[in-house]
Structures are given as structure tokens and as C-alpha cells.
């Protein structure tokens, strides 16, 4: 299966996917954010399908990619311009397990801050200094990439790939 991406200057970007032997699915991402879908045969006959708003296209993408989403990652992130928010799940062997937030010294040692602890029985936003970590907790950290990196290497066996 071949896919092509072409620039449409002033309009947007065109993606085409070969379907079978003699048809193409053409998807144009307009600069204003809309997505237009059409079928084109070898002679260039075009059958327009639909024009989707950005939100609708995201929903369609979510439905189509279901079942192909990879196994939940132990590490999720949300990057802003200069810093990020990271979700990190604690392994049982993490040195943090059993420690309180204050004892761990995460802030002092790495610079990153814990803004929430997520656990199935009830999450703790803005955890107090005496919050005690347990295996399986997901820590939500905020910090510069190097601060988060310091956290990862000090307290987990996850290594950053950025």
C-alpha cells in the first residue's frame, strides 16, 4: 500500500492512499483546519465524500485507529514550549515506594515538582508533603525536560528518549 503526501500551496496538504489497483483515497487537510475526503479513480474521476471540521476529523481518527493503539505506555507526556508535564508510573522496585513526598526530596534533588498522584482508589491533586508513595502510583510531574530527565534517572529505570 503506497501513500503520498503533496503540498497544495495556498490550500493545504494532500495525502493519497492507494486503494486496490485502480483507486485512491484522497485526503486534503485544508489550511483552515478542515479535512476533505474523496475517491479518485485512474482516469481522475473524483467522487467527493465529505468535508470534516477539525474536531470531527479527530473523532474519526480515534475510531479508525482503535485496536491499533499500542499498549499503554508507563510514561506519558504533554510538552509545552519550554517545559512538560509527565505521567510516570512507579515500579515496585522504585526507591520512592514507601517514602513520603517530603522524604523523597524530589523537588530539591531534581527540580521537578509533583503536581498530582494518581491511584485507582482516588487521586491526590497537589499532594501534601506527608503523602506516601506506593507501588503502582502514577506521579504527575511538571518541569523542564532536563529536570524530568534527572527524576527519571534517579528514581526509575525509564530512560528518556529525547
Amino acid at each position: 500500500m503506497a501513500t503520498h503526501e503533496t503540498d497544495l500551496p495556498g490550500v493545504g496538504t494532500k495525502h493519497s492512499i492507494d486503494i486496490g489497483k485502480d483507486e485512491q483515497l484522497v485526503v486534503v487537510h485544508h489550511r483552515v483546519g478542515h479535512w476533505e475526503l474523496a475517491r479518485v479513480d485512474t482516469e481522475g474521476r473524483t467522487t467527493p465524500f465529505v468535508m470534516l471540521q477539525a474536531k470531527e476529523a479527530t473523532e474519526l481518527g480515534r475510531i479508525l485507529s482503535r485496536g491499533e493503539i499500542p499498549q499503554e505506555d508507563p510514561r506519558k507526556r504533554m510538552l509545552f514550549e519550554e517545559f512538560g508535564i509527565e505521567w510516570v508510573q512507579l515500579e515496585p522496585e522504585s526507591p520512592l515506594v514507601g517514602q513520603t513526598l517530603q522524604e523523597s526530596g524530589i523537588r530539591v534533588r531534581t527540580g521537578a515538582s509533583v503536581i498530582a498522584v494518581l491511584r485507582p482508589e482516588g487521586s491526590i491533586p497537589s499532594p501534601a508533603p506527608d503523602t506516601r508513595f506506593a507501588a503502582g502510583d502514577t506521579l504527575v510531574l511538571i518541569g523542564h525536560p532536563d529536570q524530568v530527565e534527572r527524576f527519571l534517572s534517579a528514581f526509575t529505570n525509564l530512560s528518556s528518549n529525547t
Partner: protein
């Protein structure tokens, strides 16, 4: 001060009205701005302030052209790109030179007319493609890549036109050579500087504050535009190059959205002040040659586009659509006519002719694009039914 403010208020009010009318009638906005200018010209004199702001509009138009320049369209298939673009050029540029000479005009004026006939409006063409739902069609990429070729030609053309205007009638081959050399050195220097200092440059200009970013960006654009004048090029060419430099950085999108409101305002002032310089009487006087020009321009654009598309491997029906899609004229023809006003001989009426030409083709062009299927059915009756 009060008088200025009031004049401005009237001007912008009329322009705003023209924009509303253009949306309601689904017409391109540029001819309506010029029409508004012709109307206002009856009782308002364009002052230096409006002319200056209008010339900023030209700088921003060309900056935006450079910013949006699609290198991918060139790199995708350079041979096809050059072949299609050259066919369009050969069909439409020399004919303008020929017609200008036949009118008894000077070479410089004929060179201007050739530009007016050749340059299509990328703004109108891409808007029509979106509005008529043609973005997914196979011939659309060919239409747009021909437009990209035209954009490149515009930059070179404006540099040469400037040389002709500055050099006047006693321009020699050595003079042109020097001009090309100076332009080449300027472009090369700019590219080298941009390569070498890209990272610090991006940091300098990409301030987080929108305020600082806007000011530094415009300072940069105007600096390059004014140094282009010093290098013997025109400010428009400098602005185009500045656009290319910024367009190859990560700041492209941000610069485009910062620029848009300013470009809208200043370009509108440029078109309206062009219109204010025209007289209805002189336009009526050139009606007959204008109709001739429209017929020639329409025919050569459709033919050029048709053969350009055939050379890119499109079947006849798609090639005809490409030809019809290249017809709309707009901002660049007007820009050339405005520059030409300084060299035009009295009585050549290039400005009035161009205004009428752009009026006609910016309205006929989109209609031709919309009705392409029906027109094709008239020419090739029910033999093979196109989509």
C-alpha cells in the same frame, strides 16, 4: 490631524463595504477595492500618507508570497515543474511584448504589459479551488505548481522591471548585466547569512511576547526591503526574499498569522490608492483595446495551461480545467501597472487598461473555473462523460 482621521475613516469604511459586497456576490475583492478607489477618486485626493501605507502593502504582499513559497512543489518533480511552468510562460509572456509593440508602446511599457498578461493571481486561484471543492482533484496540484512557478518569475521579473525603470530608455546590455550581478550577489549573501546565523536569528526574532515578535519581524522585513533598494533591486524583491528566509524557519506559521491583519489593511490601501489615480473617463476611452486584451489574455492562458497540463500527463479534460483555472488576474498585474506608471508615456493608458483587464478576468476567471464541466461538455459533446 482631524482631517486625516476623517479621510481615513471614510476610506476604510468604503473598503469595508467593498469587502462585504465581495463576499455577498462571491467575487474577488481586489477589483472591488480598485472600483472603490475610482469612486473615491472623484472627491478625495490620495495623500502621501496613504501612498506610503500602500507601498507597505506591496512589501507585505511580497513578503507573504515568499513566506508561503512551497519548496516542496519544486523539489517534488523539478523537470515537470519547469516544463509546465515554462509552457505557461511562453504562451503568455511574449504575446504581451508583441501586443505592446503593436500598440506602438516602448519596450519598457511592452515589458510591463507582458507581465500584466502573464501573472495570474495565486490568491484568487487558491480561493476558487477551495470554494468550488476542487482540492481533491488530480489536476489541482498541477494548477498550484504552475502558480508557484509564476511566483518565482514574479521575483525575477520585478528585479528586471526595476532595472528598466531606473535605467530608463538608454539601458544597455552591460547595465542589465550589472543589475543581474548585483541582484545575484544580494540573494547569495542573504542565503549565506540566513544559513550561517539561522539559530541565533531564530532566537533573536522569536520572542515569546507577541508584541516584541511583531515589531522585530517587521523591522527585519523592512530592513531587507530597504537594503534591496540599496542593492539596486526593488523593495518588493527584498520583501519576497525576506519571506523566503523566514519561511524556511520554524517561525513560518507564526509570522503568517502575525502578518495577516497588517497585510489585509495595507494591501487594501494600495489597491484603493491605485484606483484613486484612475479616471473613469480614461477607462471608458480604452474600452475597445481592453476587450481585445481580455480576449487575448483569456485565450493564451487557457491554451498555455492546457498544453502545460498535457505535458505533465493530464488527460484533455483535466488539462482544460487547468487552462481555465489559470485565468484569474489580480494583485500582481495591478502591482506591475502601478510600478509602470512612472515610465509610461502620456497616452499609453497602461494603468487604465490593466484595471479593466483585471476587472474582467478576475470575474470571468472564477466563472470559467466553476463552469468548467459544462464548457467541456459543449466542446466535446457526450463522447466520454467526464466526472
Amino acid at each position: 490631524m482631524e482631517g486625516h482621521l476623517f479621510q481615513f475613516a471614510v476610506l476604510l469604511g468604503v473598503l469595508g463595504f467593498a469587502a462585504v459586497v465581495s463576499i455577498a456576490l462571491r467575487l474577488p475583492v481586489v477589483p472591488l477595492y480598485i472600483g472603490a478607489g475610482v469612486f473615491l477618486g472623484g472627491f478625495l485626493e490620495p495623500n502621501d500618507l496613504i501612498r506610503f501605507l500602500g507601498s507597505l502593502g506591496v512589501v507585505f504582499l511580497l513578503f507573504s508570497l515568499g513566506l508561503e513559497f512551497s519548496q516542496e512543489s519544486v523539489a517534488r518533480d523539478p523537470k515537470r515543474f519547469l516544463r509546465a511552468g515554462s509552457i505557461d510562460f511562453l504562451f503568455n509572456f511574449p504575446i504581451g511584448l508583441f501586443v505592446g509593440r503593436a500598440f506602438g508602446w516602448s519596450w519598457t511599457e511592452s515589458f510591463c504589459l507582458a507581465g500584466v498578461l502573464y501573472m495570474s493571481s495565486s490568491a484568487v486561484v487558491s480561493k476558487c479551488i477551495v470554494d468550488f471543492g476542487r482540492a481533491t482533484r488530480p489536476e489541482t496540484e498541477t494548477i498550484l505548481s504552475i502558480m508557484v512557478f509564476e511566483d518565482l518569475v514574479i521575483a525575477v521579473y520585478l528585479a528586471l522591471l526595476n532595472a528598466l525603470i531606473v535605467g530608463g530608455s538608454d539601458l544597455t546590455a552591460a547595465g542589465v548585466g550589472l543589475q543581474v550581478f548585483k541582484a545575484g550577489t544580494f540573494v547569495l549573501l542573504l542565503i549565506l547569512l540566513a544559513r550561517r546565523f539561522q539559530a541565533p536569528f531564530e532566537r533573536l526574532i522569536s520572542h515569546r511576547s507577541e508584541e516584541a515578535f511583531t515589531l522585530v519581524l517587521f523591522a527585519f522585513v523592512l530592513l531587507i526591503a530597504s537594503s534591496a533598494i540599496a542593492a539596486g533591486l526593488s523593495e518588493a524583491v527584498g520583501a519576497f526574499l525576506a519571506g523566503l528566509v523566514i519561511g524556511s524557519t520554524r517561525l513560518k506559521e507564526r509570522a503568517a498569522s502575525t502578518l495577516l491583519p497588517f497585510q489585509t489593511l495595507f494591501a487594501a490601501l494600495f489597491f484603493v490608492s491605485f484606483g484613486m489615480g484612475l479616471e473613469l473617463r480614461s477607462m471608458i476611452a480604452v474600452l475597445a483595446p481592453a476587450i481585445l486584451l481580455v480576449a487575448i489574455g483569456f485565450g493564451s492562458k487557457v491554451a498555455g495551461g492546457f498544453f502545460a497540463a498535457r505535458s505533465s500527463g493530464h488527460p484533455p479534460y483535466q488539462a482544460a480545467v487547468v487552462g481555465l483555472s489559470l485565468v484569474p488576474k489580480g494583485e500582481f498585474s495591478i502591482l506591475i501597472a502601478a510600478l509602470a506608471s512612472s515610465v509610461a508615456q502620456p497616452g499609453s493608458d497602461l494603468e487604465a487598461l490593466t484595471a479593466l483587464y483585471v476587472f474582467a478576468l478576475s470575474i470571468i476567471g472564477p466563472i470559467g473555473m466553476r463552469e468548467a464541466d459544462r464548457l467541456w461538455a459543449l466542446i466535446v459533446p457526450a463522447r466520454s462523460k467526464p466526472s
